[in-house]
Amino acid sequence: MSSSEYLRVSDLHAFYAESHILHGMDFTVRRGECVSLLGRNGAGRTTTLRALMGLTGRRTGSIMINGREVINMPPHRIAQLGVGYCPEERGIYSGLSCEENLMLPPRVSSGGVCIEEIYEMFPNLKERRHSQGTRLSGGEQQMLAMARILRTGARLLLLDEISEGLAPVIVQKLAEIITELKKRDYTILLVEQNFRFAAPLADRMCIVEHGEVVAEIAQHELAEKQPLLQEFLGV
C-alpha cells in the first residue's frame, strides 16, 4: 500500500432500494493521479461516484479518503473532507443565479482557485454571472459545474461525464483544464463514456462491468491492451 494513496475503495457494494448496483468495487487513486472509470452504460460508474459521496441507498465495504473511513458518513461530512463532486446531470440550480451557483459550495480548505482566476479560466461565467443558472447554455453550465468545485479547495474531484453532449471546442477546453489541474496536483476520478477524451488525460483506466472493476490499464499499456478495450468497450 502506497503512502501517497488518496482514495482506496475496497469491496464496495451499493444499493438503490432493493436493487444491488455495485458488487464489490476495488480500486485506488494516488495523490495527484487521474484515474478514469470506463464502461458501458449501466455498468455502475455513476453509481460508484454517488456511493463515494454517500448519495446512494445502503452501502457496505470500505471507502478511505486521505486515510479516513467515510462509508458511514453523511454526504456533507464527506464533502468537507475535500471532495468536489460534479454530477452527470450537472446539477445547476434554477433558483440561483450563475454567480450564486458558483459561490454556493462552502470552502473546505484554503488553496482553492480564487474567483478572479476562475473568471479568467471561464470568461463566459463572468459575463453571465447575473443570469439564472439554468438559462446558461449546456457548455456554460458544464463550466459552471466544474468551476463551482474548484473554488472550494477540494483536492479530490469526482467528475461524471463532463464531456457528454458538448461541442468539440468546449470538450477541448475541458481537457485543457483537467491537464492544468493535474499539474496542480489535484486527484481526479473521471467517469467517461468518451474514450477519446479520457484516454490522453487518465494515468490509469479502470474498466467497470456489472458493478465491479474487471480490468485496469495504465497509460503506457494502452497500445498493447487495445484488444482488451475492444472487448469491453467496443472502441
Partner: protein, 295 residues
C-alpha cells in the same frame, strides 16, 4: 358625510384597515407555510395551533410572570421556534421520504392535540389581552381615525416579511436554503449540512407563526380556537399565491385581506367565502398559483 355607493367613507376605510390587519396575519402565516413546504415537503397543519400558542404564551407571560408585550414579542417566537425544532426532531424527520399525506395527517393530529390541551386548561372562551402602552388610542389622519395598534400590526408584519424576503433572496444563507429546497441531496454533497437547515427552517417558519400570534393577541380574543379559525383561510392564500415566490406570498396575503375587507362592506354575505371563490378561479386558470412556478 361623504359616501361611496351608499357606504360612509370612514366605515369603508375602517374595513380596509381591518382587512390589511388580517392580510398581515395571512402574509406572515402563509410565508412560514410556504418556506416549510419547500424545504420539508410537509403541509404544516400545526401552523394555526402554533400561532395560537404564540398568543397564549404572550397572555401567560403577562398573567403568570408579569412579562410585558415587548418582551414576549421576542420570547414567544423563540420558544415556539424551539418547540418546532423538538417537533421536527421527534416526529417530522421520519416523514420526509413518504407521501405528503403522512406529514399532513401527523401535523393535523398534532394541531388537534395542542388545541385540546389548551382547551382543557383554559376552556374555549377567549382571554382578553390589553393593548400595550404607547399603542393605545388613535391617530387622526384627517380623513379617518386610525387605531395605533392596527397600524403597528401592519407595519411590523411588513417589516418582518421584508426581512424574511431579504434573507432568503439576497444572502448566502438564503442561497443555501433555495439550493436545498431545489435539490437537497446534491446540496448536501457540496458540504452543506442540509438536515440541520431543514430543522432550523421548521423552527423559523413556526417562529413566524408564534410572532404573528403575539401580534394578534391584543387585536383579538386569545383562545385555543383562534388558530383553527384562521388556518383554513391561510391555506387558501398559499394555494392562490403559489409556492414560487416570497414576495408573491406576501402580496397575496395582504391583497386577500383587503378583498375580504371590501367584501364586508359591499357584499357582507360573501365576505367569509370570497377567498375560496378566488381560490377556485385561480385553480382553474393557473393551477400552480398566481406566483407559482409551472412544473
Amino acid at each position: 358625510m361623504s359616501e361611496l355607493f351608499g357606504i360612509p367613507l370612514p366605515a369603508l376605510y375602517g374595513q380596509l384597515v381591518l382587512g390589511l390587519v388580517n392580510g398581515s396575519f395571512y402574509a406572515m402565516l402563509s410565508l412560514g407555510l410556504a418556506v416549510i413546504f419547500g424545504m420539508l415537503n410537509i403541509i404544516n397543519f400545526a401552523h394555526g395551533a402554533l400561532y395560537m400558542i404564540g398568543a397564549m404564551f404572550a397572555w401567560m407571560g403577562l398573567e403568570y410572570l408579569g412579562i410585558g408585550y415587548w418582551w414576549m414579542l421576542v420570547l414567544a417566537p423563540v420558544s415556539i421556534g424551539i418547540v418546532g425544532i423538538i417537533i421536527e426532531r421527534l416526529l417530522l424527520q421520519w416523514l420526509y421520504k413518504l407521501d405528503h399525506l403522512y406529514g399532513l395527517l401527523m401535523t393535523f393530529g398534532l394541531a388537534l392535540m395542542l388545541e385540546g390541551l389548551f382547551r382543557d386548561l383554559y376552556g374555549v372562551a377567549g382571554q382578553p389581552y390589553p393593548i400595550p402602552e404607547g399603542l393605545t388610542g388613535m391617530i387622526n389622519l384627517g380623513f379617518m381615525m386610525l387605531p395605533k395598534y392596527r397600524a403597528w400590526v401592519i407595519l411590523a408584519s411588513l417589516v418582518v416579511c421584508l426581512i424574511t424576503w431579504y434573507m432568503i433572496e439576497k444572502t448566502r444563507l438564503g442561497a443555501y436554503l433555495r439550493a436545498a429546497t431545489e435539490n437537497p441531496r446534491l446540496t448536501q454533497a457540496f458540504g452543506i449540512n442540509v438536515p440541520l437547515m431543514v430543522m432550523l427552517t421548521y423552527g423559523f417558519g413556526v417562529g413566524l407563526a408564534g410572532l404573528a400570534g403575539v401580534l394578534a393577541a391584543p387585536a383579538t380574543q386569545v383562545g385555543p380556537l383562534m388558530g383553527s379559525n384562521l388556518i383554513i383561510v391561510v391555506f387558501a392564500v398559499v394555494v392562490i399565491g403559489g409556492m414560487g415566490s416570497i414576495l408573491g406570498t406576501v402580496v397575496t396575503g395582504l391583497s386577500l385581506g383587503l378583498i375580504e375587507g371590501l367584501a364586508k362592506v359591499f357584499w357582507p354575505e360573501v365576505s367569509s367565502t370570497v377567498v375560496f371563490i378566488i381560490m377556485a378561479i385561480v385553480l382553474m386558470i393557473r393551477p400552480s398559483g398566481l406566483f407559482g412556478r409551472q412544473q
